[in-house]
Amino acid sequence: MKRLKYLLAMLLAFSMVAAACGDSSDGDDSSDGETSETTEAEVDLTQGSDLTFHVITHSDDGPFWTVVKNGADAAAADLGITVVWKPGVNDAQTMVQDIEAAVAEGSDGIGASLPDPDALVGPLQAAVAAGTPVITLNSGSNDYQEIGALTHVGQSEFVAGQGAGNRFNDAGATKVLCAFQEQGNIGLSERCEGLSDSFSGEVVAEFMGLDADTTEQQNTINAALAADGDIDGVLGVGPVITMSALRAAQDLGRVITIGGFDMTPELLAAIEAGDVAFTVDQQQYLQGYLTVLFLYLNVTNQNTVGGGLPVLTGPGFVTPDNAAAVVSLSEQGTR
């Protein structure tokens, strides 16, 4: 009897693993078809040039960063140079080692993100001092000048929020709920602050529950909307909470202008259907592409872009007008 139970447990554990793994071979093939290799080893696309740039980020190779990588790879292919993609997987220590290794190898230019400025500013300053041009991308808009980087390529959360505010102005909204899904996240707060800055009506910024519990999010937003009949716009500062806001508004039968941040397939479908007015897209493809392009122009032609200011890749907007196009582009991995 006991042996039987043991076997049963093994069987269940096995089926669990099998269920989770599934047709792994299919998945691998489709993901790697167009982007050479996904291993974190060096990606060699050299086509007649000896320039080698290193792009060292806190990438986790998730859907977001895959698009950045695709941008950098596309620029390398277009320019006929080599780009080495180093994903730090949110570990600043790995990034420091990669930066120091790149400088030691005699890299022609470094693109780096700054998730942890305290750890990364020093090594990048050393790279600049050693004569390697540096551009920060994605995060680092507050520190690129201190490093001596050529410029920063990314989205300012504040400016993105301002862009959303203008959208609500155009839609004729008078009171917007800025719903956020994480407390104490400075990036999300800046999005709401940007909204308050440019929006002509009233803004209430409130925490509406974590993404981990969408039931709670939906009902909390529902409660806020029901309690305040003046709210005629909701900005969700993430894709999941935006969908929760949409469901809440639909449950109440209220006509509310809904805007969001970033993209998921559901959110894009809702925009295509006209249920959500827009989502803010930071166009991270540009962060990869432009970083490589700007480094190339600097090295080959001594150009500097931005005039000491950051180069903003967003906010771009996905609206019902361009949603279908963005959907097909995101399937190609460029949006």
């Binding site: 089926s15 998730g62 409130e206 925490f207 981990a212 039931t215 409660a223 029901a226 309690a227 305040d228």
Partner: protein, 628 residues
């Protein structure tokens, strides 16, 4: 627990026998129920919308998935174990089901029909539960650590496999299943209230509520009083006359309009209740021969003075503070809010002191008990009148006023019979069973009445343009699941084993309880609940992110603790878990409904948790102290 109870100083009460109320208050979930009613009333008072049907569905919806888990987790905790993987498992099971039904090909997935995927995923869930139990048993390590490992493993599997298999951090499209429409009604059917009209709704609601309260009073009487040697038919006639009078009053109130007519009808109801209750009692119970003389001792006098004083101070606050001001004073209160809190706080404190005085008077003589309880009823009437006179909003003047007056009436009716009839000081199986069944029947009537009120709309509401309100079948899952587990824990051998292994595993094993098996089954019960919740989420939002459920396991544990389950095991109820879930859900929604600054939300949850734990301990110690 009994050793801590000894520290509570109690005087005369310690000598008293264990009365019905003491038996009730020693139940683990009673503190939670009182808390739930308090929190509901609080948010109902401070928010315009919290009491509406739409928002009620809102917090019930939050409570449903939380509650399914909390009930199962309560049982596991009674069995002396924790499951920290329970939160992550809800999301994992949802993702697994979606992955199983997704179309094969580029998107990944197995393309199974739900009819296969549902049982298969259940088998996986039970397998994980078995693994948890088996590991805890085999290694002898605390389940806190073992299931923490399971938690991290599931969390990693969710993200890693999602990205590897479908190149996304989520699993999407439950509706790709070929037989999605077949299963949808079971897991995602919705009930749109505005599509269901029932013109007799309010009449049904009020009738059932009044009936339920009447049965509660009679049921408590049955538990409380000593039966007559023979029934006295004169009492039965009086009882029936009281019913006729009360019903006549109710019908009159329903049909007539105007203040004078309403007062007359209310008086008829009140007299009907008093006559009926006394009739019932003189029909069935033994009268007291010597009721004694009114005797207000020094300590009783002090208690009465303090109690009445507090109530009056509360009323004074209500009168002198401007009720219309919404000016912010300090977080998160407006003048209005502070007024409400001061009023409710002082009144509640005053009535508590009066209730203690009434309790103490019982040991003097019936006449004193009658006088003191009547004073308490008068104090409640005073509160009702204060609300009526000083409140500007219709909901307070009408609904709240009526409820408080009704409470006063019930109190006074109780005072009349408790001072006239003999308390039963010995068990009486027949009466105990009848009384308990009456209480259960009353609870069911109450539930049916409330459901009627919530589920149906009437013409007038539609004309007034109330917003649509929706609820879904997941609520039914919650109620059924909770009811089954409550029954299992209270009435089956497995339930007794659960208490036994949680109380003292070794002792349980030595008396022949299959301890290891029971604990493993409890882990599997929690995984079953997680599977059910995952399924409900997958059907509801059609896509599940990899982080869904992560961190929720603590909310389940908190709900169980708020509902009176002890972290040390061996004590608690499944029903308490359900109540705890409701208590957790109401503030989440209430804070948004009250339009407070949500930055303070966690503080609020923390305060509730602390208060619940302290109140539970206080009530338990008090009840057990009395019992000794």
């Amino acid at each position: 627990m009994s050793d801590t109870a000894a520290a509570t100083p109690t005087t005369d009460e310690r000598l008293a026998y264990r009365s019905v109320f003491q038996r009730v208050f020693v139940r683990p979930e009673v503190g939670g129920m009182i808390g739930a009613i308090g929190i509901w009333t609080f948010f109902w008072a401070v928010s315009e919308t919290f009491g509406t049907v739409g928002q009620t569905f809102g917090w019930l919806d939050i409570a449903a998935t939380l509650g399914i888990m909390a009930v199962a987790v309560s049982m596991l905790m009674i069995g002396g174990e924790f499951d920290l993987s329970s939160g992550a498992m809800t999301g994992a099971m949802g993702m697994l089901i979606i992955y199983m039904v997704k179309e094969t090909g580029e998107t990944g997935g197995w393309g199974l029909p739900l009819v296969v995927a549902i049982p298969l995923s259940l088998a996986v869930a039970l397998g994980i539960g078995y693994l948890n139990g088996y590991m805890v048993e085999r290694t002898g390590q605390p389940s806190f650590i073992i299931t923490l490992a399971t938690f991290f493993a599931l969390r990693g599997l969710k993200l890693g496999l999602a990205k590897r298999e479908v190149q996304q951090i989520q699993m999407a499209r439950t509706d790709e299943a070929t037989d999605f429409d077949l299963f949808r009604p079971f897991f995602a059917a919705e009930w749109a209230r505005n599509d269901h009209q029932f013109e007799l709704r309010d009449f049904t609601f009020i009738t059932l509520i009044v009936l339920a309260f009447a049965i509660v009073i009679l049921g408590i009487s049955e538990l409380w009083f000593k039966r007559n040697e023979s029934l006295k038919s004169a009492g039965l006639v009086q009882f029936l006359a009281g019913i006729v009078l009360g019903v006549a009053g109710g019908v009159a109130m329903h049909l007539t309009d105007g203040v004078a007519a309403n007062i007359a009808a209310a008086a008829a109801i009140a007299v009907g209740v008093l006559v009926g209750v006394n009739g019932w009692a003189s029909w069935r119970y033994e009268p007291i021969a010597d009721r004694g003389k009114l005797e207000i001792r020094e300590d009783l006098k002090r208690r009465l003075a303090i109690g009445v004083g507090l109530v009056v101070v509360g009323a004074i606050f209500a009168v002198i503070i401007d009720s219309s001001s919404k000016r912010d004073v300090f977080f998160p209160f407006t003048t209005q809010g502070i007024r409400a809190i001061l009023f409710v706080g002082f009144v509640a404190a005053g009535l508590t002191v009066l209730a203690m005085a009434s309790q103490g008077a019982l040991s003097i003589n019936p006449a004193t008990k009658f006088a003191v309880t009547s004073i308490m009823a008068l104090a409640v009437v005073f509160v009702a009148l204060t609300i009526f006179v000083d409140s500007e909003s219709a909901k307070f003047r009408a609904a709240f006023f009526s409820v408080v007056m009704f409470v006063a009436l019930v109190l006074f009716a109780w005072a009349t019979i408790v001072s006239r009839f003999t308390e039963r000081r010995h068990p009486d199986r027949q009466s105990d069973r009848l009384g308990a069944r009456m209480l259960v029947a009353a609870a069911l009537l109450l539930a049916v009445g409330m459901a009627t009120r919530l589920l149906f709309t009437i013409d007038a509401e539609i004309l007034a343009g109330i917003p649509p309100a929706k609820t879904s079948v997941r609520l039914l899952w919650f109620f059924v699941f909770a009811a089954v587990l409550v029954w299992v824990l209270a009435n089956t051998k497995f339930g007794s084993w659960t208490y036994a292994v949680g109380g003292n595993k070794e002792a349980a094993r030595q008396v022949g309880v299959p301890a290891a098996r029971t604990k493993t089954q409890l882990f599997m019960l929690v995984s079953f609940a997680a599977w059910l919740v995952g399924l409900l989420i997958a059907f509801r939002i059609n896509s599940i992110q990899a982080n869904v459920g992560d961190g929720e396991e603590f909310e389940f544990i908190i709900a169980a603790v708020v509902g009176g389950t002890l972290l040390t095991g061996g004590y608690g109820t499944a029903f308490g878990g359900a109540i705890g879930a409701v208590i957790m859900a109401m503030p989440l929604l209430g804070i948004a409904a009250a339009r407070w600054n949500t930055d303070w939300r966690w503080l609020f949850i923390g305060v509730i948790l602390a208060l619940a734990v302290i109140a539970n301990k206080f009530i338990r110690d008090k009840a057990e102290g009395i019992r000794r």
